[in-house]
């Protein structure tokens, strides 16, 4: 399971295109290493969001994780990143 989890990650190319899309200055560039590091950072972000939502659902004794649980964990999540 842990091995499988490792494999799921963002593609370097996607991340570098995504970041370049948001840059205001066209001269800004991003190196290859930075893209893989940002991919890891976003992976952590998604895992953290999921874990917190799952925990919220557990606290409420719900079977599945729904939109309301994500809504509840969202403010603190955004403050932590």
């Amino acid at each position: 399971m842990a091995g499988q989890e490792r494999e799921v990650a963002f593609k370097k190319e996607t991340i570098s295109k995504l970041l370049t899309l948001f840059f205001k200055d066209e001269k800004s560039k991003i190196s290859n290493d930075t893209a893989s590091l940002m991919a890891e950072m976003l992976r952590i972000f998604v895992i953290e969001a999921t874990r917190r939502a799952v925990k919220q659902a557990e606290n409420e004794d719900c079977v599945g994780v729904d939109l309301e649980h994500v809504e509840k964990i969202l403010p603190q999540l955004l403050l932590d990143f």
């Binding site: 499988q4 840059f23 799952v54 599945g64 994780v65």
Partner: protein, 131 residues
């Protein structure tokens, strides 16, 4: 402008795809099911968060009077949480080690190729004289 929007949509779809994969595997570990709306919300959040990250990174690089964003800028981005910052630090070190190894391999391969080429050339020359 329309093309730009289509491009953004495509990137968003790519993010959504990976986010849903990560969500499913993480939720499966915790033995819970994620609803589609929950996954979509996390994907949208990730996309928006990416915009904040990008702008921060750009500002950090600009502050250092650079145009290329560095690994150091990412470390600065992750400074607010100790655990995250040490994880990113460790990852960046791993990346650096990997790069070093790759470089050395490439050097070795290049050297091998050169010596092979030399041999090949010598063989060719030998063949030429025989003909």
């Amino acid at each position: 402008m329309d093309e730009q929007e289509a491009y953004t949509q495509r990137l968003k779809a790519a993010v959504h795809y990976t986010v849903s994969k990560i969500c499913q595997s993480t939720a499966a570990e915790c033995e819970k099911e994620m609803s589609r709306q929950a996954v979509a919300a996390i994907a949208e959040t990730t996309f928006r968060q990416c915009e904040i990250f990008a702008k921060d990174l750009e500002a950090f690089a600009r502050h250092a009077k650079r145009h290329t964003i560095n690994v150091d800028d990412v470390k600065l981005l992750a400074r607010r949480s100790t655990a995250l910052s040490s994880h990113i630090q460790q990852k960046s070190e791993e990346l650096a080690v990997n790069n070093q190894e790759l470089k050395e391999k490439r050097k070795k391969n290049a050297a091998k190729r050169k010596s092979k080429e030399m041999e090949g050339n010598e063989a060719d020359e030998a063949g030429d004289t025989e003909n």
